[in-house]
């Protein structure tokens, strides 16, 4: 029923889609696969009228159509669960589900009761319990994800797009979602399903289309392929060589950072861990399991009930990341755009942002020559590809942006670097380079905490792994126990250690 042919899209100089085809039949679940940044989300945004394509054609039921807005797409029977949440934080679930499609009485007033009934129905169908009259910002991430899904279901769409809906769900919740998807498939609804979890693809999908680097690779039935073949289609090569070999870090090397007790919420779990010199400590867990909050609380950027930590035996307490920086802890935040980069600054100023202590002349003024020189060296070290140091960072590709943020820490004499989702939205080549950089850092004696939602990355890079669930650490695995299965088991079923 849906036919996309030759879709092209450039964002300025960056080509994101180079002629992609996609055909979806009524009553099938169609998987759209590809690495981070392959262009899946962009393709879906083009489909529903949020992004205008530079070329190509969209046909629904054979009819060419080009939606000027998502509103028009909805009218044509297309419903989408976006990858980024599109909920309004202070409105409740009902208002969110019916936003811009409210049921109205003949006076034009809201039919709150009817909307609430319908919302309750849909949410019950999903098999979850969600309070309907609480602002959605008070809900857990998984609950918010279900509100998003319910919002799309409320459209009664003929074509439903689910862009990574399972990234934030536990296996049990995923099962519920699949049940609903099967039900819809029975009713003849076409579903496009995007996920990085290949097992899910094999469980629910009928056919698969693979993108790589914005190019169309192929479409096939699930029964025709196996997991390794799919990976090859997605990546174009085998992925093992992606991770540089682990250095044989002596397990008894001295402890750099020790967190004795870190509690995020009253009555919440208390976490503790140690970081040794020269090791990479992985933080694994489902989305929303509290990894980011934990490290932010450590640095004093997020409130915590208690936070006892010491570096090389000296107890410390940070109320501002600036103090953490002074003590030798640096952060590569999880969201480049919102937390990492000053987008209005050129590369130069972004890199030197927290290094000015080193480039002072006469105590107060900037020594701009030294600043430029040091920045040039840092850019070379991490291999930032850019015309010059004056280029604005928002013109760089995601990978290069990430490298700019990493380069910021090169000139510091850091002891601990925290990498929060260092490869999110980064292409394969850049990924390998970043992994390489991390190894170089550890070889120099830095210690790294790496938060990642990508299991292969955690497994491939970490010397030890702390597994998070519900806001705290449920288990720490090391050595041969660092396997995807072991981590996943803890992440979904682990027991929390609550405060005494």
């Amino acid at each position: 029923m849906l036919q996309l042919t030759g879709i092209k899209k450039n964002f300025g100089p960056v080509t994101v889609l180079r002629g992609v085809d996609l055909q979806v039949r009524a009553g099938e679940v169609h998987a759209l696969l590809g690495e981070n940044g392959a262009g899946k989300s962009t393709l879906m945004k083009i489909l529903c009228g949020i992004v205008t394509p530079d070329g190509g054609e969209i046909r629904i039921d054979g009819q060419a159509c080009r939606f000027a807005s998502y509103h028009e797409a909805i009218a044509a029977g297309v419903g989408v669960v976006f990858q980024e949440f599109s909920l309004i934080p202070y409105l409740d679930a009902v208002d969110n589900m019916f936003l811009a499609r409210e049921l109205r009485s003949s006076f034009g007033l809201l039919q709150r009761a009817a909307m609430k009934r319908r919302a309750a129905q849909i949410i019950a169908q999903l098999g979850v319990e969600i309070p309907l009259d609480v602002p959605v910002c008070k809900l857990s991430v998984a609950q918010q994800q279900f509100v998003e899904i319910a919002k799309a279901l409320a459209l009664d769409a003929r074509l439903l797009v689910l862009d990574e809906p399972t990234a934030t769900l536990t296996p049990g919740e995923v099962e519920h979602l699949f049940k609903v998807m099967r039900g819809l498939r029975e009713q003849g609804v076409a579903i496009i399903f995007i996920s990085h979890h290949l097992e899910e693809i094999f469980e629910i999908c009928d056919r698969i289309t693979v993108l790589r680097d914005g190019a169309y690779i192929g479409t096939c039935a699930v029964s025709e392929v196996d997991q390794s073949r799919l990976v090859e289609m997605m990546v174009g090569r085998r992925i093992e060589n992606c991770f540089p070999p682990k250095a044989a870090a002596a397990p008894e090397s001295d402890v750099v950072l020790e967190v004795e007790a870190l509690q995020l919420k009253r009555n919440g779990p208390v976490s503790r861990f140690r970081l040794r010199r020269g090791e990479i400590l992985g933080f694994a867990g489902l989305v929303g399991s509290g990894r980011t909050e934990t490290v932010l609380a450590m640095l004093g950027a997020h409130p915590a009930v208690q936070c006892k930590l010491s570096m090389r035996g000296v107890p410390l307490r940070f109320t501002d990341p600036a103090q953490a920086l002074q003590a030798g802890i640096g952060l590569l935040p999880e969201s480049r755009k919102e937390q990492g980069l000053i987008t209005s600054f050129p590369i130069l100023h972004n890199i030197s942002l927290n290094n000015y202590g080193k480039y002072r002349a006469a105590g107060l003024f900037l020594d701009r020559r030294r600043e430029a020189e040091a920045t040039r060296i840092a850019m070379q070290r991490v291999r930032v590809k850019a015309p010059d140091a004056q280029a604005r960072v928002d013109t760089l590709s995601g990978g290069n942006q990430q490298k700019v943020v990493i380069a910021r820490w090169i000139n510091h004499n850091m002891q601990v670097l925290i990498f929060d989702e260092p490869t999110r939205g980064i292409d394969v080549g850049a990924k390998a380079e970043i992994y390489q950089l991390m190894r170089e850092f550890t070889a120099q004696g830095y210690s790294i905490i790496m938060i990642s939602s990508e299991l292969p990355e955690v497994v491939g890079m970490s010397d030890r792994v702390c597994v998070f669930k519900g806001g705290g650490i449920v288990a720490t695995v090391e050595g041969d126990a660092v396997t995807a299965e072991e981590i996943m088991t803890h992440a979904t079923t682990g027991r929390l250690h609550h405060a005494a």
Binding site: P89, L99, R104
Partner: protein
């Protein structure tokens, strides 16, 4: 299945009451009233409360439009000037052009809506910052009013117009009734219509609202038009109270209106707040003015006390959430 949500929601409602954005403004209102009552015998009388409400009516009505605008994350500094201009035009049309008074009052309201639409167009289509746009239209509106009137107040209005300012229906002053009607309408509009949901949605997350199909530019336009409309209504009461068109009236009322909105618990960044809170905020300000007057506090000291109380209220509200 049937019971759990009900219990949860009744619990939620209880928590909602304490944690609601109204709890704090209400508490403030009670505390300040009690203080004022202790300090002045004349405070807790029906006649004084009606007096306060009547005094509050103009800023109270301006604050309704301001609530809409602030809920979308904007601001409207032109409300006082728009009100003065609308009132001056109405008076001029009656006195100098001999237009029938009802028509002239309507023309004033229409003009105020026009100013609102201009603001809205510049903010929504022009994508210019609201603070600058409305600052500029404020200056322009004041200038136009002064030119139109030649700088003089325009008096000589038919006597019945004072009904809007000082009349009563039963015991209740007409401007108070008008104000309550406006608040009721605003409440319905914000809480019971799709339009209202969209206003909140834009303030909460404009991008997400647009993605969901909310016509953000149109809503923003409407919101500034509503602010213009309430300025026009306020102008009718003002004209009734002053029995003249005063191009200089209402200087600084925009700040009072903003203070009422913020004291009422609406977030200045938008997305959260209730118009009932604004009413409480406006009354709180009115009581402060009235009580400080009743206590015979030095007028200079009054500015200081008001400033400190606003700061305190906002500070506590911030902790509360």
């Amino acid at each position: 299945m049937g019971n759990a949500p009900v219990r949860a929601s009744s619990q939620a409602r209880w928590r909602a009451l304490i944690h609601s954005p109204l709890a704090l403004p209400l508490a403030g209102l009670v505390v300040v009233s009690l203080l004022m009552g202790l300090a002045s015998d004349n405070f807790f009388t029906v006649s004084n409360w009606l007096n306060v409400l009547r005094q509050v009516s103009i800023v109270g009505i301006l604050a309704v439009g301001m609530t809409f605008v602030i809920l979308t994350g904007g601001i409207d500094l032109s409300v006082g000037a728009a009100m003065a201009l609308a009132g001056t035009l109405s008076a001029g049309l009656i006195v100098n052009s001999g237009l029938p008074a009802p028509l002239a009052l309507l023309a004033g309201v229409a003009l105020a809506v026009g100013i609102g639409l201009l603001n809205g167009a510049l903010v929504a289509w022009g994508r210019m910052p609201a603070i600058i746009v409305t600052l500029a239209t404020m200056g322009v509106a004041r200038g136009v009013g002064l030119i139109y009137s030649g700088g003089y107040p325009i008096s000589g209005l038919p006597g019945w117009i004072s009904w809007f300012g000082v009349g009563r229906i039963g015991m209740i002053p007409v401007p108070v009734i008008l104000m309550l009607v406006v608040y009721a309408l605003a409440w319905v509009l914000l809480q019971r219509t799709p339009f209202g949901r969209h206003v909140y949605a834009i303030g909460g997350n404009e991008m997400a609202a647009r993605l969901s199909g909310v016509k953000t530019t149109r809503i923003k336009l409407a919101v500034y038009a509503i602010s213009g409309f309430t300025s026009g209504l306020a102008a009718i009461i003002l004209t009734g109270r002053l029995m003249s068109g005063q191009p200089n009236a209402g200087v600084g009322f925009e700040l009072d209106a903003i203070a009422a909105v913020v004291l009422g618990g609406t977030a200045i960044a938008g997305g959260r707040g209730l118009v009932v809170g604004t009413l409480i905020g406006a009354v709180l300000l009115g009581i402060l003015n009235n009580g400080l007057n009743l206590m015979g506090i030095n007028p200079y000291l009054q500015d200081i006390i008001r400033g400190v109380i606003i700061l305190l209220a906002i500070y506590i509200a911030r902790e509360w959430r």
